[in-house]
Subunit: 510 residues, 2 copies
């Protein structure tokens, strides 16, 4: 029913361009979120739009700018939040836009002021983070240019932005009820044109040239394209599904050299994307991504290591995803308020496990497929170095394991390495501590592991989860809380629900 | 796309039955609201269910009982409330279940305790009252028997309950966006069987015999049927649309005498319901409804008269419904809290008009079709007698006027009369002050008026609106506030949104 692609951003820069710089400032936006009719594939459907448009408006800003988005919820019965994917929200954890975690959802008719600083340049996006409102269409591009007086470590002449996302004919409510999920991988082959990858998730990388790229849900890249081909022709760009056998055809668009007519069809057929299960191709791409010289380096040692086993499980026969055998079910009181004010009944106070049974065989389906829900939190002291080992495993069905792109809020992390099978102490020796890339999203490959490192330098409560929205919906995530006692100034509106809503309400009558 | 019938209840009593009485008590229910798959017409769709069933569970209680419904919102992104249609909520106006009026919507994951007294026996129903959640399937039957030691003024042997509602294939979100509405009238002809109407909206009426009844959205009736026909046959019951040209066939069901097989099809064809626009038939039925002797009588005189002109209008080209040229748009802070605590910025403080221009021609389309939105309130002092004249008019299109069933919360009203054309001072002389029926819902006929009287004896804020859900959605309603300063004990949770949510939040930080 659906076609093409989760919320991803590919930012294409055409060489080489001299920037004009304005001055650092506060940008004020007024946005209304409401359903609109939209027919991207000639079949009319309802989609969540912003100011009457879908996808939402592109935000363009400079590093160091403050933004204020006055977001008015014009939905009739649904709350809403917006997550600013890739923005670390230093000092403003309540503006991270995660319902149940950083704030109460904005009620219908209410307006919330998302006010925060764009801490660094990059190609980002924003999207809903409540239920499956991202799948309902709530997203758009967010592009932060370098600050005044700074330059990028590459040059280009022009730029354009591709925001890739899935589109379904079935409503999100159908999807929620059915817990159905969609394949969500992307690959492009701009025929004859090479792409030079220069930025990933808002961090510069060592430039490397490819003919196609693997992009996963939650990721963003900037690539340079030299427009050195015959200008009288147009060129196919193919977009195909990765990681799960596709039931939809490749998507196609055209690279057009002005003033050539954009309706001129190329003579040659569109490029065929790599087969969906060519994981070696995918891994080869991931391993090419290395930090640009001069990028921040990771601490040499970690203070704590959390190993997270990703398994598909059952609860009362319903399919779920679990992390160390706990399927995340978010509480009605957002953690930021309940932890700050020590409301101990708001969530499970027991810390979730930091490892899994040593005899678990990641190459086989779970021996006991049953799991339980939970909403415990990993409490992390400030200014410690945390390693997370994401461990993939076989799903319920034998001989199947899928790719999952994990996204961390409030942070970038270093990707120290990828490996096959079960992570062992020996694997640590192969960690790349020299030039690991900083990312906010990283995949685990089938039956493999991925090692990440980050420093707990940002007081707040941060989600860490698989970015495939139905997988998060089915429990595939964890929550990190760090230094919440240092958070001050949470807006009342962000607390006006759940236990914080009822306990802190003081009227003359009560 | 859809078929059959708005939320209405027809309660059929089969003569004659000796009641067994229990004792007055508090009934405790635990309900979860969530979407479920349902296939009432063989096509699977999502519908809002309660405890996994659609329609929701039937509540059965006795007058004088207290009920506590612990309602947990298991929807993922939507708030929810439930209105107990026909229950006056004396002393518990926060339990009326009207979002933006009596309480904050219950957030996803939260539980609200609807605790109130069933003040009188009757055939009622309950339904969502937030956005178009009634159309989404949130409703069920609510039947209150007479109190212990009391008897009904009629006898019957057995009873069954028919809850009539519309069913659409299109989602509520599609409907909301499209502002589409559906015809919603009902009429039944239990062939060969006569029906004796004995109760309307929870008030006894003078029994009268009919072969079919007109039932409108928001209404409920009890009828007696004497099962005096040939028991070896089954009998068709036909249900047809009234008041708007139907695009769906009559719905059919069978009246079956046990132990005759229920699959035995009657020899004769099903009865044909009256034509959709046979308004004389409808008026004749309405005029037969008179209060049973001994029912409360209206005060002889009114203290205040509010005349409400019903017009179809435009705002920026969007079709709306307006009352005295104001299209109701509910505020994000529920009135009960904002009026109680004098939060003057929460809504328009200017009282809406109590009449319309004397030269307005109700027989013609509006000369100036444009209108504006508003959320002002009619402030009513306690213990006054208020007359409301509902004045129908021509719609935007010439020579068209439709039936609207108006429902009042927190009260029953006396229906003093129906008339044709524009209401004049002369019409007052024809008011029925002798035995007008008490109802909570009454219709206005095309191009006609309906006169209602009620006493402001119930402190609270009460919606008064057309019960066709899309019409309310498009602005067809007003709000009455009476003696709100006498309301005490509003639960904090009912205030935890909008201005009451943010102003009354006291945390250690703020």
């Amino acid at each position: 029913m659906g076609f093409l692609r989760e919320g991803l951003v590919l930012f294409i820069l055409l060489c080489s361009f001299e920037k004009s710089f304005g001055s650092r400032k506060t940008r004020h936006l007024k946005w209304d979120v409401e359903y609109v009719f939209w027919s991207p594939d000639c079949k009319e459907n309802v989609v969540m739009g912003i100011n009457g448009q879908f996808p939402g408006p592109t935000i363009r800003a400079k590093a160091g700018d403050t933004i204020s988005v006055l977001l008015t919820n014009k939905l009739h019965t649904e709350g809403v939040v917006i997550h600013w994917h890739g923005i670390r929200q230093v000092g403003t954890p309540w503006a991270d836009g995660t319902a149940s975690i950083s704030q109460c959802a904005i009620n219908p008719g209410e307006t919330f002021d998302y006010r925060f600083i764009f801490d660094k340049p990059g190609t980002y996006f924003y999207h809903g983070h409540f239920g499956m409102q991202r799948s309902a269409g709530l997203y758009g591009s967010l592009i932060v240019d370098v600050a005044d007086g700074e330059t990028e470590p590459f040059h280009y002449d022009a730029e354009f932005n591709m925001l890739l996302s899935d589109w379904w004919h079935q409503s999100v409510r159908h999807q929620e009820v059915g817990l159905s999920s969609k394949p969500f991988r992307w690959i492009g082959e701009p025929q004859g044109h090479k792409m030079v990858v220069v930025e990933a998730d808002g961090n510069y990388v060592q430039p490397f040239q490819v003919e196609d790229i693997d992009i996963y849900s939650g990721e963003s890249y900037s690539v340079l394209i030299r427009t050195n081909q015959e200008a009288s022709k147009n060129y196919w760009i193919s977009i195909g599904v990765r990681g799960r056998r596709p039931q939809t055809p490749q998507a196609l668009t055209l690279l057009n050299y002005a003033p050539t007519s954009a309706s001129k069809i190329p003579f040659s057929p569109p490029p065929i994307t790599p087969t969906w299960n060519d994981y070696d191709h995918s891994k080869s791409f991931s391993n090419k991504i290395l930090a640009l010289m001069g990028s921040p380096k990771p601490p040499r040692n970690h203070d704590r290591r959390i190993i997270l086993l990703n398994t598909q499980n059952l609860i009362d026969g319903f399919t779920k995803w679990s992390i160390n055998n706990i399927s995340l079910h978010l509480p009605s009181t957002p953690y930021l308020g309940s932890i700050k004010y020590s409301l101990k009944t708001a969530f499970d106070n027991k810390s979730p496990p930091e490892n899994f049974a040593s005899d678990y065989d990641v190459m086989k389906p779970p021996v006991n497929p049953n799991t339980t829900t939970g909403n415990g939190v990993y409490m992390l002291p400030l200014n410690t170095t945390v390693d997370v080992i994401l461990q993939n495993a076989n799903m319920l069905q034998a001989n199947v394991s899928e790719i999952h792109p994990w996204h961390l809020h409030g942070h970038d992390f270093w990707v120290l390495g990828y490996g096959e099978g079960k992570f062992t102490k020996e694997d640590e020796k192969k960690f790349n501590l020299k030039n690991p890339p900083l990312r906010n999203t990283a995949v685990i490959f089938p039956f493999g592991w991925t090692a990440l490192r980050f420093v707990t330098d940002n007081p707040g409560v941060w989600a860490f989860h698989c970015h495939i929205e139905p997988h998060l919906h089915m429990g595939m995530g964890v929550v990190f809380a760090e230094g919440v006692q240092h958070v001050n100034g949470i807006p009342n509106q962000a607390l006006a629900c759940g236990l914080t809503g009822s306990r802190f309400m003081k009227t003359t009558q009560n």
